[in-house]
Symmetry: none
Subunit: 257 residues, 2 copies
């Protein structure tokens, strides 16, 4: 199967094709602030072990920003404000987009190349499944396996809590049996819609060989560390895709949800 | 000959000296967007082999931005909107500025240090000639040989096409017989003036030893790659110099063109 960025002739001939828009809005001001700030003090950042703190009311010291963690890893946080969106729309989106590259491309038209489920199945749900994607992070082309896990696994039980939704995944390679990080997208209602609080924990102790052991992990970490994205590229990518999709997610969900 | 940045006592005592202005305008918003975006997916960027696509109507997926290309190289694109400017003014400028450092300094008063033609000649034309310049790219001081080539060499025949002008050059060192890249500045009329679409292809396969062979190229590439500018510095420099000069190019051309 040929993979390529963007839509080519015929790709828009689907019921949802009219939602493909290669023009992306500039980054929100708070993301620019975070880029200008540069790396943050780790004590302002959330540890994976404290992921459950995302269930608390209020906001964290760093809702958008990035910084190094111990042992060579880093974390990225992105806040996306989404008027008119509900958390349930995102829950639907994660179960809907991964079975067709033309859906996946709606999300980030300048970076998303292909998507399919490792189980070969269609849409409808995502927890417990692995999404195999090809995408750019900055200029780096990556072939990733995104294994969606029950939020309970990160202490965020349950999957839906009141009106909030938490999307959690182990991030790894689709070519090698190596995982390199974790992500959480916590989506909760606000007065005018919803806000997404994204967190990535990458590299360092978060690198692991699938079905491996401590020795394999210690050997693979230096190699896998070279495959990590630049934290700025990851922050920009996340902010771009979430803002881009949020602008038409209510309309998309109204038609296909 | 002493070289230095900026004008010193007496340097402005020329017919054009009144145009020297060390104050530079802030970067346009679309250049800031590109800096914030960071490296782009290579599939949104123009290959050197497709340079002739600049002759098409419309705009490319990336008119301002930068990203890595295969084999260690990178490309930079900059769009400069220039009210009141015509493409022919730029054609004149490229033949006029290179014979006197005091002219060259008008263009980027914070980065341009010296300029002379390798043939020792005066002004009037540039295609087929080599401009030897010293300038800063970011904090890096570079001594460059800019060998202007006929646009036909990059598939952009002819030099002037209708009202548009293409300025094309091989970029290299003035101290070593090594080239490190290519540039195109395509200038075409717009409703209110002209727009310049600059493209640089640097490093990787674009490094070559002048009058060398494949073996020399493969040996010199790793060394030459360390001399490459940061793509962000190159993008900023280009946007600054083109916007700066464009603000007074019509007046300069009216007096000296």
């Amino acid at each position: 199967m040929t993979t390529y960025l963007g839509y080519r002739a015929g790709d828009a001939d689907t019921a949802w094709g009219g939602f493909f828009d290669p023009r992306m809005a500039p980054l929100p001001g708070h993301v620019l602030d975070a880029l200008h700030h540069g790396p943050q003090a780790d004590q302002t950042l959330l540890d994976l072990a404290s992921a459950a703190d995302l269930l608390d009311d209020g906001h964290h010291a760093t809702e958008t920003g990035y910084g190094r963690l111990g042992r060579g890893g880093f974390t990225v946080a992105v806040l996306t404000e989404m008027p008119g969106v509900t958390p349930q729309m995102w829950d639907w989106w994660f179960g809907w987009h991964g079975s067709d590259a033309r859906r996946y491309k709606l999300w980030h038209p300048r970076a998303h190349v292909s998507a399919r489920w490792a189980d070969g199945g269609g849409d409808g749900h995502y927890v417990g499944r692995t999404s195999l994607v090809e995408e750019y992070l900055g200029s780096a082309y990556t072939k990733a396996a995104i294994r969606f896990v029950p939020p309970e696994q990160l202490g965020l039980a349950p999957h839906r809590r009141g009106d909030a939704v938490a999307v959690c995944a182990r991030l790894g390679s689709s070519e090698l049996p190596v995982d390199i990080g974790w992500l959480v997208h916590q989506v909760r209602p606000t007065a005018g819609g919803a806000e997404m609080r994204s967190r990535f924990w990458m590299g360092g102790a978060h690198i692991g060989v699938r079905h491996g052991n401590l020795l394999a992990n210690s050997m693979i970490r230096p190699v896998a560390a070279r495959q990590l994205p630049d934290p700025r590229d990851l922050m920009v990518h996340c902010a771009q895709e979430m803002n881009h999709l949020a602008a038409f997610l209510p309309a998309l969900h109204a038609r296909f949800g």
